[in-house]
């Protein structure tokens, strides 16, 4: 280091302290609210605000899917292709959180990113996003996250197996990285050719020789299973495979890859947890929120509590991120994925994931 190089490290703490002091004074001015509550009126996407985004455009993809262009707040960090983002959006006045894969290319000139959403029957949020969401709507965001990404050491041969909206994280990967790979096979399953999300774009990639595309139209060809896949892609054991789609398909693939002795060559992405076992529910008491509710044995405590108006921490909603963990002071809960029952004696404070735990008797939760 030379004397001419500025040394920001020594200047920052002073600035930081000054900033803290300014914030303290501002808090004296705005108490009992926070300065942020007023700044949000003017600029909800500013740096330092809770992470939010603004819907800029909703572009139809198929008859039941749309791409939503979102301008994120200034604290948004670039994602890794294949990752998902959690979005909180008000539907019928109620804030709902869902995770969607990011489908855009990195570093868009306009600073936005996109998600692509397929409206599922009865899906509150997906139908709202596809059919009713309007540009200008402010949504809540988390930073992008997820492990469904390409490794730093790029494999020579890739296979992507997708069904329905499972194509979205893969499209996120292809749009950014297809040029890095010489041998990419995409097997996509959808009811008809028109239902293929990004159909035109995928076919164009195939036409220009960047990928080999196999479209499986289930209305005529039947559901895709592991045996059919092995026929379509004879060299699949030589490939690193990324699969995203319905739980049944993923399980079949996992079994197939395990049987072939190459389970570590398969990466899967699920959009919702697999519920295995349910049982009797019970009364769930939230002591600090002064709320008590009856929860059945099939509903995650997170969902039951939110339904009753309790503010709950939440994350992926499928048992992965541990963003929803709360201490169980007393009682029993059942892990909906495994059926395993966790009990807590008074004072234990066993940490439970509320998004995949249902009440298995009376529960006292420290929240």
């Amino acid at each position: 280091m030379t004397a001419t190089v500025p040394r920001p490290s020594s200047a920052w703490p002073v600035l930081g302290k000054l900033r803290d002091r300014v914030v303290k004074v501002a808090e004296l001015v705005t108490t009992p609210l926070l300065p942020a509550d007023y700044l949000d009126l003017v600029d909800p996407l500013r740096s330092g605000a809770a992470l939010r985004g603004r819907i800029e455009e909703v572009r139809p993809e198929t008859r039941d899917a749309a791409t939503v262009v979102i301008r994120p707040g200034r604290d948004w960090l670039p994602h890794t292709p294949g990752q998902y983002v959690r979005i909180g959006i008000d539907v019928d006045g109620v804030r709902q959180w869902r995770a969607y894969s990011i489908t855009s290319v990195l570093g868009r000139a306009d600073g936005c990113f996109t998600i692509t959403v397929k409206a599922i029957p009865g899906g509150k949020v997906s139908n709202h996003l596809v059919r009713r969401a309007r540009p200008g709507t402010i949504v809540q965001l988390d930073q992008a996250t997820g492990d469904f990404v390409l490794p730093a050491q790029r494999p020579e041969k890739c296979l992507f197996v997708t069904a329905g909206s499972g194509v979205t994280p893969v499209m996120g990967i292809l749009r950014n990285h297809v040029a890095d790979h010489d041998d990419v096979v995409v097997v996509h399953s959808a009811p008809t050719a028109d239902d293929v999300i990004f159909g035109a774009e995928l076919r164009e990639l195939a036409r220009t020789g960047q990928i080999r595309l196999v479209e499986r139209h289930t209305q005529t060809a039947g559901l895709l299973d592991a045996a059919a896949l092995a026929e379509l892609v004879p060299d699949l054991t030589e490939r690193s495979t990324w699969a995203c789609g319905p739980v049944g398909l993923l399980e079949a693939l996992e079994e197939h890859w395990a049987a072939a002795g190459i389970p570590d060559q398969l990466y899967t992405e699920r959009f919702r947890p697999r519920v295995l076992v349910t049982g009797e529910g019970g009364t769930v008491n939230f002591a600090r929120s002064s709320r008590s509710l009856e929860a059945d044995g099939a509903t995650p405590i997170l969902d039951a509590a939110e339904e009753a108006g309790v503010l709950m921490p939440s994350g992926c909603r499928m048992g992965i991120c541990y963003g929803c963990v709360l201490p169980l002071r007393e009682g029993a809960v059942r892990d909906l994925r495994t059926g395993e029952v966790t009990t807590a004696a008074p004072g234990d404070g066993v940490l439970i994931q509320t998004c995949i735990s249902a009440a298995a008797g009376a529960c006292d939760i420290d929240h």
């Binding site: 609210l33 009126l41 008000d90 006045g93 109620v94 709902q96 108006g309």
Partner: protein
Amino acid sequence: MTVLQKKSDNPIAHLSEADIESIGLELDALRQGVMDSRGDADAAYIRRVIDVQRKLELGSRAVLLFSKFPPAWVLGTVGLSVAKILENMEIGHNILHGQWDWMRDPKIHSTTWEWDMASPSEQWKHSHNILHHTYTNVIGKDNDLGYGIMRVDEDQKWVPLYLLQPVWNFVNACFFEYGIAAYDLELGKNLATKERRADPSFRAAGKAVLKKIRKQMTKDYVVHPLLSGPSFLPTLAANFTANVVRNLWSHSVIMCGHFPEGVETFEKKSIDGETRGEWYLRQMLGSANISGSKAMHIMTGNLSHQVEHHLFPDLPSNRYSEIAPKVQDLFDRYGLRYHSASLPRQVGSAWHKVLRLSLPNGWLAQTTPANVPAQVAKLYKMTTGGPKVRRQLQQQAAA
């Protein structure tokens, strides 16, 4: 007036058990109908009120930076008073009731909201939502009846100190937020003995209140006046005025809710084993509405629909006016009196009751222009004499 159970003309004597049960069922259905139809429009409403309130407060405080100019002082003080009233009534009170919890917005939620008020929201929610809304108008259980410092019922024994009750009701009105803080702390009871004073939970609560008051006072009486520079004193005066205006307003509105003449009170033992229908009935008879314009309803935090609010404390406030005609129709069909009158009339009625009960039972009613000297002499005797004299004269008056 006296507790409903001791009245000769009990207003619910004509209702059978089945009637009361069907009142309960009808009201449950009414509630469910609103719960099921909550949606975008309601969410947009509360966000809009919050938005308007914040901009009004910011704007008024900005104008007050120049408050040494009289027009700025007047404009800023009026704006700030309105902003503070909106913040306490339509926004704070209702959010803290959990009326908006269903939106799952952590910024507008009963467990995270803090308001512009001496009493911390956590303490107020306990004394108000749990005690007052559960034990509405039950003598000895509902401390909102006179806040433990007033005589609110003929059955409470009269002592000369009560002569001052109109004065301290007015003082309480001016500094209402501190009255509420003291009341939420149950200050009278908790300061009474050494053990209670030393109780750790009371001490913690007391500390929380003092901290809140310090922050509130620093904001209104130090920071904003300092920011006003040469307008320091006018801004301080403006903030003080806005706080007093807000206090007087909320005190008046709240007094109208349960205190006007004709609103019933209930005996402690009458709520043993109370059914859902009976609970509803108590709320119906124990509350009074204020009639007026839409703006008036918003300024009272829709507590002008006190009857509806007490029946369904957690329904979004913007929906009370919608169900009010249905509730009134229910009153009519079951031969019950739906108390509703304009703000001046209800305030007048409530103050009349404060005055009447500050005097010995029957004194005000028996006083005519002709017998004023005799009545005053009697009052003087009752005030200066001991309990025996009071009892004697009271019996004479009753006879």
